[in-house]
Symmetry: C2
Subunit: 236 residues, 2 copies
């Protein structure tokens, strides 16, 4: 059963040891062993982020990467009239912002927390050093980049060829995966910006989905009731 727990994270800046980080098992860092792990551990800094805080902004200069210990982060880019397009929602264990490390260019996207989060920061030098010396990590990163590239190709195809209804179904399935044990917890506006539609349209469609028994809502939180149904709707 899904939970609706009001998460209360430790608000201090106390150090989270990689050794004990529960999120590490899902992470690119999962393979790391003694020496490298210690190096990261001693050089990283951990912070508590309130909901809505930026990790970095579009056009900013990257100084390092962020490793999510606990929480959710939206990766997005702003269009002309300021409308956000959310590209990805990152969760515990994910490393955020490492693409700009390699491209040598400013951030092409921005990142903000979607809820209160504990996030560690590893400096550019330390990270690149690690990538250079640790072949397993490097291969993990190459694999990750490739997968993400494939994801985005399919994202583009969906935007081009699917109706908003189908895209919403597919977005809910993706988010249900990301939120795992918890309810999907995004504002209607953020959800609309992920699906790529107007907020009003999203609200209407979500109501349809509710009426049809695919989902239910607890104020702003969304619970997926019928995955199979959504899969059929999404037409994957």
């Amino acid at each position: 059963m899904k939970t609706n727990r009001p998460q209360m994270l430790e608000k201090s800046h106390k150090h989270i040891t990689c050794e004990n980080c529960l999120s590490r098992k899902d992470s690119l860092f999962c393979s790391m062993t003694g020496g490298d792990l210690e190096k990261v551990d001693s050089n990283k800094s951990c912070s508590y982020f309130k909901k809505g805080q930026p990790l970095f902004i579009e056009g900013g200069l990257p100084r390092g990467v962020f490793c999510i210990n606990e929480g959710k982060v939206k990766i997005y880019s702003r269009g002309e009239e300021g409308k956000e397009q959310i590209i990805h929602v990152a969760t515990s264990g994910e490393i955020v912002g490492f693409r700009a490390m390699f491209s040598g260019e400013p951030y092409s996207v921005a990142a903000n927390t979607l809820e209160e989060s504990n996030i560690c920061f590893i400096s550019k030098d330390d990270f690149l050093d690690l990538v250079d010396t640790n072949a397993t990590l490097r291969n993990g990163i190459l694999r990750e980049l490739s997968k993400e590239l494939a994801d985005r190709a399919s994202f583009i195809k969906n935007m081009a060829q699917k109706s908003v209804r189908e895209r919403l179904a597919s977005a809910l399935l993706i988010l249900d995966d990301i939120y795992g044990e918890d309810f999907i917890n995004l504002s209607r506006e953020d959800l609309a910006n992920f699906v790529g539609t107007a907020t009003e349209t999203l609200i209407r469609l979500l109501k349809d989905f509710k009426d049809d028994g695919f989902v239910t809502t607890h104020v702003r939180k969304i619970e997926v009731l019928d995955k199979e149904g959504l899969i059929r709707l999404a037409g994957v």
Copy 2:
């Protein structure tokens, strides 16, 4: 002045030496020196491809990478009703299909020549070996992957937030860059599948652009007359 030359490529399978490959300067391989270059050279195979031939198909198993010596290749993915979404048009010097080398998964996209092309093939083992031992190449690839990721994020945003008109303007600018000295040479259908619209809509909008003096057409070929105008239209 743009050319309209009827390209006639060497139709044999004769070997193209990397050493003399004119496209190499634009390539990820540009940094490669004696030893590595010779290794690639002696292990690769070169082929002439007719217009419309597949390099690989969606879901197929990758055996190596393709290096375009001369020609154009569309990278695309098919939607449910078989409609193609073109993700990228690759040209001389580009290496195609290296993402799947790292992900260990089947191709998530397909690749077909858009015109007759000379393309070299490098086997998976040779390529991965090279990446493992040549740090410069490796960094080039990481940079390339990152840039492409950024490109696709902006592609997604455009699909979500821009009108077909704006997307067409932006697509024409991108293609004008890719085709360089030559006219843009894509079927209306391919162009529609790149912009992400119906073929009829594309034809109508292209006519508008012609009436407004932004482009002119030579049968199927498209010549950009007013870049500045298109930039304004695209709203970049």
